[in-house]
Symmetry: C2
Subunit: 307 residues, 2 copies
């Protein structure tokens, strides 16, 4: 069992989908990553910041899930990061209605002393300089996983490239991979991105699954076809949490084991979208996860005799 | 080994892609299906029509691949069906520049006497009434596979629905499945389409692979991520040819065997796009197919312990 450091936002989200809308509910990349990774009983720590308006019971809930929250700074006279968005009918695209950085604007991440020797670091989507600040506090991490998005490619590309040069795995979506590499083909895009630093590239394609690239090896994980996607918020973070959580639990960072990690990430993400916000992830049983993994197996397994 | 009847266009295509353009070259749904199915040494017959302008060596080539061409009518004073199209830079969308029906306008398909007892019928994309005409000539087919497209949904929906009611398997792309069913989710779309007749629904998602639905079972076949797609023309037909060819060869029409058939179809389609038109499919070796299938295996295989 390795230690896992998770950095990312802990936030309020207000979400509107064709199925309904929410008031301010619990959200944030680190929240989803932590909830997802907690399925592996890893020794995880969340590094983030919230304001005095953040309910104590949310913090307690994260602790109950086994997350160390020493690095979750509470700025008593500040307000928690807030994001509001509205999904279109296809559920694949969304408009951001509001982004209030609040306490995130001056966030200076501090990794708890006991977690500076963690083997696995999961850098959730945040400003690249914050991600870099976390990497620099780590003693000798064996696996650093980076999640990021097009926003940072648009407005902090140099800083983002500094982070990319220091990580082992990057997870981005297909459009972002194209933007970052300037290549349309995802095969070529992954090659260019590997030249920037990461040995592994995970390209998330939403309802079309995810691709893992490493040297000349490829792996294609499907997404579970769903009758209804209720709320896609946090699916990518949940994927990242399942992926990094499984790797922290097993301590095996080989290509073969990363395939399995991607299946775990995909399976957990398939739950996330079934309800608004974090609701589904806080109520997940081991049995449900087991059944979902079984579904992924039967979804992709085939017999072929190759003599 | 079952007999396989293939109906579809045999045509001239003129293709433009970002990589170049061709003059009139060999094309047509039945051509691609036949070339693809020939990899299984099936006893196949092509039912189609060409004009007097159609080179005899193309017909000989199809015969050399083991296809019976008795049902390939030659209208000496007519011209062969011609299609011309230009692909956009993303290679996923295209503009049709010209469609000249020519001899196809009055095509009355005739299934050769020796093939009326064929077990498997592959209805390539054509007017639904022509497809219906072929079904009606068959004695007792065990498996009828239908390929069609949005064009017929727009202009011959009633006739198309008559065909759909009589087939065992339908293969369409994701947008067509949505159009036909009125459902956005492919899970729900496949359910509605199964209610129209077919016991199996195959939804082709291009670079995102293909889904097979049967009752409550699902299977997800990936597409091989390619560095370059040279010319997508015929990929769907090649998929259908591999799918129906494998099923005709094995005579096993179970869900399990259809999974394997879809992998064969996907593997063969991945060759088709490597060169212009039918070029790659006419030069394919058993060894190359074998290696590609091995790639599909390693692309999707993962280890997961489920206790």
């Amino acid at each position: 069992m390795s230690k896992l450091v998770i950095v990312g936002t802990v936030a309020f989200d207000a979400i509107e989908t064709p199925f309904g809308k929410t008031d301010k509910i619990l959200g944030g990349a680190a929240t989803y990553i932590g909830l997802s990774a907690s399925n592996f009983n890893v020794d995880g720590a969340i590094v983030s910041v919230v304001g005095g308006d953040f309910p104590k019971e949310y913090i307690t809930m994260l602790e109950d899930k086994g997350m160390n929250v020493e690095g979750l700074e509470v700025v008593e006279d500040g307000k928690t990061f807030f994001w509001s968005g509205k999904y279109h009918n296809d559920m694949n695209t969304r408009d951001t209605l509001a982004t209030e950085l609040n306490v995130l604007a001056d966030f200076n991440p501090v990794v708890p002393e006991d977690y500076k020797d963690a083997e696995v670091v999961m850098l959730g989507n945040l400003h690249p300089l914050v991600q870099l600040g976390v990497i620099n506090q780590m003693k000798a991490p064996k696996l650093v996983v980076l999640d990021t998005m097009n926003f940072w490619m648009d407005c902090a590309l140099d800083e983002l490239k500094q982070v990319i040069a220091k990580v082992d795995v990057i997870t981005i979506n297909d459009e972002e991979a194209r933007q970052l590499s300037g290549e349309y083909s995802l095969v070529n895009a992954s090659k260019k991105i590997m030249e920037m630093g990461p040995k592994f590239v995970v390209i998330k394609k939403g309802e079309h699954g995810a691709l893992l690239f490493h040297k000349d090896d490829m792996f294609y994980a499907p997404a579970l076809p769903l009758a209804e996607v209720f709320d896609p918020t946090g699916a990518g973070d949940t994927f990242a949490g399942g992926f990094s959580g499984f790797l922290a639990k097993t301590g095996d960072f080989s290509f073969e084991n990363m395939k399995t990690a991607i299946i775990y990430g995909s399976a957990l993400a398939s739950f996330c979208v079934e309800k608004f916000g974090t609701e589904r992830m806080t109520q997940l049983s081991k049995k449900e996860v087991h059944q979902r993994l079984q579904q992924f197996k039967s979804l992709t397994q085939f017999d072929i005799e190759l003599k």
